[in-house]
Symmetry: C2
Subunit: 320 residues, 2 copies
């Protein structure tokens, strides 16, 4: 991430952390603690950053619009992380033990549900029905994408289009809502609302493509979580789809046995690099980030626009 | 349940089933199917029935008010059942395999989350901020009560007051919201709103006390789920608290080993009956149902009031 994108909303993000901590009190305290700890463990805060930048970009949006959406989106995202980690039985997240690993399923299910209850509260206090409908659609779409991914992992049919549906539903619609939600609160013109929505969808696809590539080729220390998990969970992501499409039977075998043998993950990484699948995936990521930047053409130049373009461009080089 | 309580809103309940089925469509279809199947598997529909009766009781409430609240409350309740069954690893519910048993944790977590997303959507379309705040508070309180129960199960400190907090949070606040929500939508006078709220809290406590008693003493065939589960999960409920309070060391031993030995559950049932703990629990249930009936004194006599009083009174004799 470049300096301008990093620093532009850093004061807002400090306020965001404080507001969020205040929102997540519970009795017993454990529930709120878990959400707060996970958010403070140093996630990338991509979604709140985008909401806060959108508030600067959109004519008529106030900083309060950005803050409300930033909080709602990050709480929904954190709920989905807690439930994902339970489902995947993930041992670590952001370099620390997951709530599921540490406390078990009661706590991780309920901590996620508690965050969803707080999202509802925040939206009720804001009182904007359009934002509520957007968030409810996003929440439902995330669930549908999880089930689509789960159903795909149980078959041996692989398809680029199904994969794209999954990453759009799992990731891109929420990232997009971080920007579109602000446009709704600010009553932005339809053209601007559509522009930030498109930016978010392209950025979100790039983001998830990058995440999935890193899971196959990244450095475990950088990631803060184990690599190769997708293969072990039967999730066939874009780079592997490219390999299968090129006819690599060795890749198909590794996928078939869910990388169960020693050396499978390392061999897959070699194949991905040799075959050009890594390079092709990086190209695809670049196409998405360029489309994200292009979507902002309707806005006059501003520091916020520059920061958003830089954020998108940075997805091509991200290593964690 | 008496005939008048059963039949009074039966046409409304048919419409409720149809509306709910329409609300729970998803792609992939599995998510919506699970919620729909669980609701149609023949739950007692206590909460929607109460909301629909409240709409008849409260001057100025329309049937649409009752339907919206009935749906929101039943969807929230069903989400919480799905997540509970996962947490408890329950094999059966309402006489059929649980979603968790049949499909695993991905599907049961996501089916619950999907229902919560649909609750948000329904509330957004209704657009009443007071109802949203009530529902968000209820949703958060349910999570807090689950964690309280979980933390208590990990200790050997037992208390009547903590137990009452748990059943109030787990059960009574949602049952109460089924009635209070209608009062909010109908802009009922404060006195009437308070009256239905109190009715719901007392009814809800009676309902959960009865459920917990049946788990210890009920017939498995009637219940549609295995009995004695609370003891095995370390949950010490009202009847057992009475035994412990009377100084039964044998009961304390069974609680301490979570009824792990053959015959423990049957022996506990004997102790509960011999000691008078069953009788005392039934008295407590009757006190709560009488308080529920008394709360309705502010309303003039009507068929709806009679039906609500009969529903409460029926808790004393319920066997499933």
């Amino acid at each position: 991430m470049t300096d301008s994108a990093r620093t532009m909303v850093s004061a807002d993000l400090d306020e965001f952390d404080e507001r969020l901590a205040a929102e997540l009190t519970s009795d017993p305290g454990l529930l709120g603690d878990i959400g707060r700890n996970l958010i403070q463990a140093g996630g990338k805060r991509i979604r709140p950053r985008l909401a806060l930048l959108a508030a600067r970009l959109l004519d008529g949006a106030g900083s309060r619009d950005g803050m409300t959406v930033a909080m709602a989106v990050e709480m929904l995202h954190t709920a989905s992380l807690l439930h994902d980690d339970l489902i995947d039985e993930a041992p670590t997240r952001r370099g620390q033990e997951t709530a599921h690993q540490r406390f078990g399923s009661t706590v991780s299910v309920m901590a996620g549900d508690f965050l969803l209850a707080r999202v509802l509260r925040l939206l009720a206090l804001e009182g904007h029905n359009g934002l509520m409908l957007l968030m409810s659609d996003v929440a439902a779409t995330i669930c549908e994408a999880e089930i689509r991914q789960y159903e795909l992992a149980g078959t041996d049919s692989y398809s680029f289009s199904e994969y794209l549906k999954v990453i759009e539903g799992k990731t891109a619609v929420l990232i997009s809502a971080a920007l579109e939600g602000v446009a709704l609160l600010a009553s932005s013109p339809a053209e601007e609302r559509q522009a930030v929505r498109d930016y978010g969808l392209h950025y979100g696809r790039a983001f998830q493509l990058r995440d999935d590539l890193l899971d196959l080729t990244g450095d475990v220390g950088d990631l803060g979580k184990p690599g190769g998990t997708d293969l072990r969970e039967g999730k066939v992501t874009w780079p592997v789809l490219l390999l299968l499409d090129m006819g690599y039977t060795e890749a198909r075998d590794i996928v078939g046995r869910r990388a169960a043998r020693d050396g499978d993950a390392a061999r897959m990484k070699e194949l991905l690099e040799e075959s050009g699948a890594v390079r092709q995936t990086l190209e695809r990521i670049r196409e998405e980030t360029e489309a994200a930047e292009a979507a902002l053409a309707v806005f006059p130049d501003s520091a916020a626009k520059t920061a958003l373009k830089e954020l998108a461009a940075a997805e091509a080089g991200r290593s964690s």
